[in-house]
Symmetry: D3
Subunit: 329 residues, 6 copies
């Protein structure tokens, strides 16, 4: 992806990278790609849990990027992001971009029942209120969440990271089919099916006459004797994935590959996934996976890094060149 | 639906109903339900196309509702809505609610390609900028569009209008199944399937080896010898519906009922639909259907009115009582 | 007017010109002056009238100008302008200037009756809400409309285009006098009288004892045996101009020249003007005049282009040099 | 004007009147009309000129009106107004209306030269920033200034105060004519001419061949042997009025009545006016005239009070009834 | 404190009390005072730590109060507060008041070093962004934090809770003196000294020639043989209090009473305090003290409840009557 | 302080300095430091006290600084500042910084009584509403006032100007001690004590049994036979300083030096100070001291200029380099 860049005039000041505490490895990878050092900043948590930030050098007029994912501990990480943004603003940064590989609260994106919040809008408002001029993120739960922000953003897709791996994998697959376990992800599933030129199937509730199990799942579409690419945007507790794998096996699926962008892996998700007859778990590092969870999944876990892609997008944002053309769009 | 209301203290001033020119019949129906007159207002279009509005009486401190759908002529109707809102604001209305049964630009709700707008957010911003305090609408293209507004709203569902009709229809159906022609509508389709306790199927692209027709459609799920309820949120030109009906018939569907909330019916949609082997076209009046289009569809067209429902929601909004409990939610 | 420009450092990114569909010829003329290509953009109108825009290349950090007048079809053109602005904003443009030679709704600029809108403020709010950082326009109906915007703007005067032509014309005039047909334009009329060092007269209502015609017009000031320069900011239906010419002729005017900045020419205005004993119709292209209307007026129509002036103003805005000094101000 | 009011439910809390120090007599008059006491408040000026305000009782949820004109000392009065508004807001007032009979900086309402401010917009922004929900004022220099506010307002006209007096005066006038000394006021002059069914004339610059006096004034229209009603919105230093009266007398005017809404009377204006052959000076108390200035003008000064009118408007604003219908509009 | 209330008209809808999970006992106490039930709401934490809220009944047009302190877990509690506020706003609450007995991040209230945040402003902005119309809190770290909010608030003082207890205690004290351990609290200390008519002393750094201990503390003022009331706004880890007590004892203080509004008691603060020769720890329940911490302090801990005071303030806010007069202010 | 600056790319346009009328000498000193001319601007006061501003050349895209202190005449100076800011904004300045050495209304920074304003927040809001992007000032009355602004600022400390002088003075002092006369300034007093490695004492109310003088002042801490540095942030009428000097002398102080940043010197403050047994009055020129006041204080008055410091800060703000490192922070 990295391409040679033309010499350019300075539009936005120099790139200044700040890492929150949530994604230190990813932040370093981005810095390496850009051949920059991460800017020094002190982040202290006082005994009363209040956070304190101090930048070690001035950012006046510079083009600042705060890299901080909002996975666990979610609220602390979110607050740290907001404080970093405000600190940069108060130090007269030229432009501030919140780089949030995984944006929390994406599933609270609409009022589908009365008297519930739209927390994703609240999070967007908070990021704007703190002083961000732009944001970058990966695979919002719904693309419409972009419209919750009053500032521009780059919403990147893990698909662009995952697709090369899948294309390499494809020749070794037997009669592959793409399956989604959530109807809301059906349309995005089609992108994978188009890439690999396969069919598409869905796991969905089946209405039965069996009163004891009226919500049994079924498969809509053909999967028998096929290798299944089970795709989703994130895996949280893995509960629905356990059901999905079971139902797929019941319906005669061959090898199963689980593909997802955001490895949230709450609670004992890693342990539960490890017990499943899944050949590979293919994901990215939008959320860091702690070593103890990695251990459960062993060699079956494939984590593809978004670092170089983010580094390149930051460079293009700073230069004022196209991000879309990186993906031939 | 109308239930007796308790005597209440005045929270928001009296209800004042204003009708734009887009939905006169619906507006009158709402007024009738509420046993009110529509408030007098002059709406003039000057020769230079500029619109002019004058209210015939004061609305100081009152609880005002502007009823205006944003169907064709879309931009004129939208502007008329905005001008009416601003006029009410400048006349010191107590509270202003934009009642927009069909909200235009719902399909421009995310950046799924680079360098495109999110026009639904722009429309939301315009309504807020004009001075609306609240909004009411039906079936947004994506529920997330609620999050584009910084003001509260009541997003009602045509389903609540359609369901009674469908429940009455159900006993006469033979082995019914709900089908959606758009994967993006799959999840909403499930609500209909749950209501009628039927299965669910999808029309989706089928990858073929036939180079001449690589995009042929297919049906995922069982429909053979079943009566099909083909559901969607709106019908625009009807193009995809023509394809859907054809593929359903090819796959052995029995009777087909087409159910949709917003009858946009652009261009010659009514004429094209009329030519299809569809038993009924069941829809609402969120968008008025002109007589010449009604004529094409004749008795097969069933238009269920949202008037009483909107009237009741307005009354509850004015009284400060629950709308959700109208739907047992 | 074009003067050599000093080499300058980059303040705002490069100029990127985007043309809406309302003024293609003017847009091209501006591009030619600046020796730039118009930036590619797709503008599509769907069957449901909703517009869709996509930019063909990235504008990150660039200094963007959207050229779009808001003449007929007024509301579609206005919406297209707003969508273009938002698209640029969402693509992270560095600065966005709305270049709107004729700004619609200028006559709705105050509440001179109860319960009416101030639509010009609404339009200003919409342009700001869409994301514009600056605007450029010509001859607002009232100069105060500048105060409706919370963003800076360049309000240019057609007078600067027209005056050179008038100065060339002057020697051939016999005893010229400037006349205004609208008391609200009286003060601007004086600028023309000062330029040409002529007197000033007004057409105004005359109170008569004739009950059948109490609103007869009269002329205040001397026009007998004089060549008349009848000036106004815009001509809409031409109705008041027909009356004005008649009354001028009754009062002994010699040749009449009609001078106006914005040629709205609604309905059959061109045809009606063509029938008048007017020697020349001198105007600009802030609003494009379609060929069929031009045909009515033939050689008597003189259209002076604002293209070079706008091009120069855009260049100066981009460089950060004075626009005022172009006019020795 | 005062009419019996129907019993009404409480829309906005009770009326609470607060008087700034600029218009104590007018404030009392309004309070008397409404049969209310002015609310106690301390206003202190510290030795460093900083003002301090404390309300003597709570205004939580109440409908508050701050009566403060912005005549001399202009900036102190303006600041006092703003501080009073903020104090009410911070004490959780229900609604705050700035009642500013004369709004300063009205003549700075547009950029008619490069690089000048639009201070009237700034003043509007300051009033809104302080926390006002509404405003009331009299005769803005340009009606468009209403569009500078993002909040609703009642812009009243001194004409409604002056007209009854003029109608009583009319029978005693000999062949009256309305004259304006400023072309910008020409249109408003017509309202007076319509009321009294008289002609209209203007005082305007005359282009002469006399190099020593190229800017000599002249009269456009008929005034010889007529009683002149010389109308304007405000009199500041009176300089142009001195010229106007002289030129009117030179052209054979009979008695001259000077009519103006805002008696600013800066510097020695009262003394200069007193020396003129003017029969009456008819004005209002939007600006208080100090006794020493009144003394110069003696019996020729007629000050009509806006107090009852403002009282009635406040009552209607509180009740949510129409203000426009007070003027049959 | 509770006084009989006059019958009043409805200004703001009925009081609706919502309790977050941080202060259940205090919330119940407030509800009891007001003779109301806490409104039902579900608050769920998903395995991915994201919170979800649903109100059990409608709040349209009602006067809603969210009771939630922002002590540990600080960021979760803050987010819960914000989500509750937004949920109320989206359900069209009439007015929303954030009742936050202890507001976190109060010590980050200014840039006293370069490149640090003002997090208290950020927190204020977040509360406003979420949709609060008003706020209530106790003893902000600096009174100026009120100015960080763009909405009105009631900032109550623990002093009003503590003073009655202290006045009862006073007769039993021997020669009392008020001492503050933080110069920033010196001015507030004076309020206690005025109440009890005692002297005032400070603990402050002493510059010594002892290189090994250059920061030794000392006492400024007279405390020998006096009973000391050591006052502060909050106790966090208790570290400075340990030093303070030691130095006081070294300087001959008799009995020591520690008085503070916010019992944060981070880490092992309770245990450390318990080891001190302090006669009583007198505080409030703005922050709940868990039983295990209470156990350390035993009978020496006196917790005075703010519940009734908050209940009364809420009632007055709803009625639109004065809060200040509760304190004879 | 001035250090060599590296060649830098243009981040913000060129520095453009504009001086209001309040601090002409300081403005010139800043211009001299930066080797720039002050930009030409006309500032006119009309007879009606309204101010008018016109810039003499364009500021498009430039980095503009408005130097205007807000001392007497306070409100006129404040308004002039705001008008200058708006004028720059409307002329499309690239960035606008309000340079306000002394910010008025700093003492109105919190609601310490019911029903009072927070005027410092109002002033901050006004500066932002006028269009400032940043601000610079010296020694806010409370550091928290920074949090009243929604824009970044540089709050400089007079201490950095005064300290060099005090360090030079120190060797000639006999047993010096730093004293503050206001408990609110106690913490800032410590910074002086740390600088000079002296003790710290306070002047404070003493509760006496003498009914005739219950508020007698006393000194807390050791001052006998010491040279006293009496420090404060501003001197207004000097009243409390007169008391402080008297009480210090009563308690045996030797020489007294009065040190303060802002020489407001209202009313006859200069005359009163002159009568005191004070050896030197050491201050800055954040507020200009008129010659007649200087005359009272004669050689004892030492005014240290902030001009070079402000010049350097402006240069660094323009270049995007650190201000904090000027002070080794």
């Amino acid at each position: 992806m990295p391409t040679p860049h033309m010499q350019h005039e300075l539009l936005f000041g120099n790139v200044k990278l700040f890492a929150g505490t949530a994604s230190p490895e990813l932040s370093q990878e981005i810095a390496d790609y850009l051949d920059l050092d991460l800017c020094g900043r002190d982040i202290i948590e006082f005994p009363n849990e209040n956070l304190f930030v101090q930048l070690q050098s001035s950012v006046r007029g510079q083009d600042c990027y705060v890299i901080q994912t909002t996975s666990s501990p979610v609220h602390r990480n979110l607050m740290e992001l907001l404080i970093l943004i405000q600190t940069l603003k108060l130090d007269s940064a030229g432009r501030i971009t919140a780089v949030v590989p995984y944006l929390c609260y994406g599933r609270s994106d609409k009022k589908d029942k009365p008297r519930v919040p739209i927390t994703a809008r609240l999070v967007a408002d908070m990021i704007v209120a703190a002083g961000a001029d732009r944001y970058m993120t990966f695979d919002l739960h719904a693309g419409q969440i972009q419209g919750f922000f009053s500032i521009p953003g780059d919403v990147l897709r893990g698909f662009h990271i995952l697709k090369n791996y899948l294309l390499e994998l494809a020749p070794s697959l037997h009669n592959p089919v793409v399956v989604t376990a959530d109807l809301g992800f059906a349309k995005k599933g089609r992108v994978y099916a188009d890439l690999l030129q396969t069919g598409l199937a869905f796991i969905e509730k089946k209405r039965t006459s069996d009163i004891t199990n009226p919500q049994a799942m079924t498969v809509i579409g053909e999967i028998k004797d096929k290798d299944v690419l089970l795709v989703d945007d994130e895996i949280n507790t893995g509960g629905s994935m356990v059901h999905a794998v079971n139902i797929l096996k019941e319906h005669g699926a061959r090898d199963i590959y689980m593909i997802f962008v955001h490895p949230i892996l709450s609670n004992d998700a890693a342990e539960r996934l490890a017990a499943l007859p899944v050949k590979q778990f293919i994901t990215t590092n939008t959320v860091p996976i702690p070593p103890e969870k990695r251990a459960f999944l062993g060699d079956r876990l494939v984590v593809l890094s978004i670092g170089k892609l983010l580094g390149e997008v930051i460079q293009r944002a700073n230069e004022g060149t196209s991000v879309g053309e990186m993906f031939n769009e």
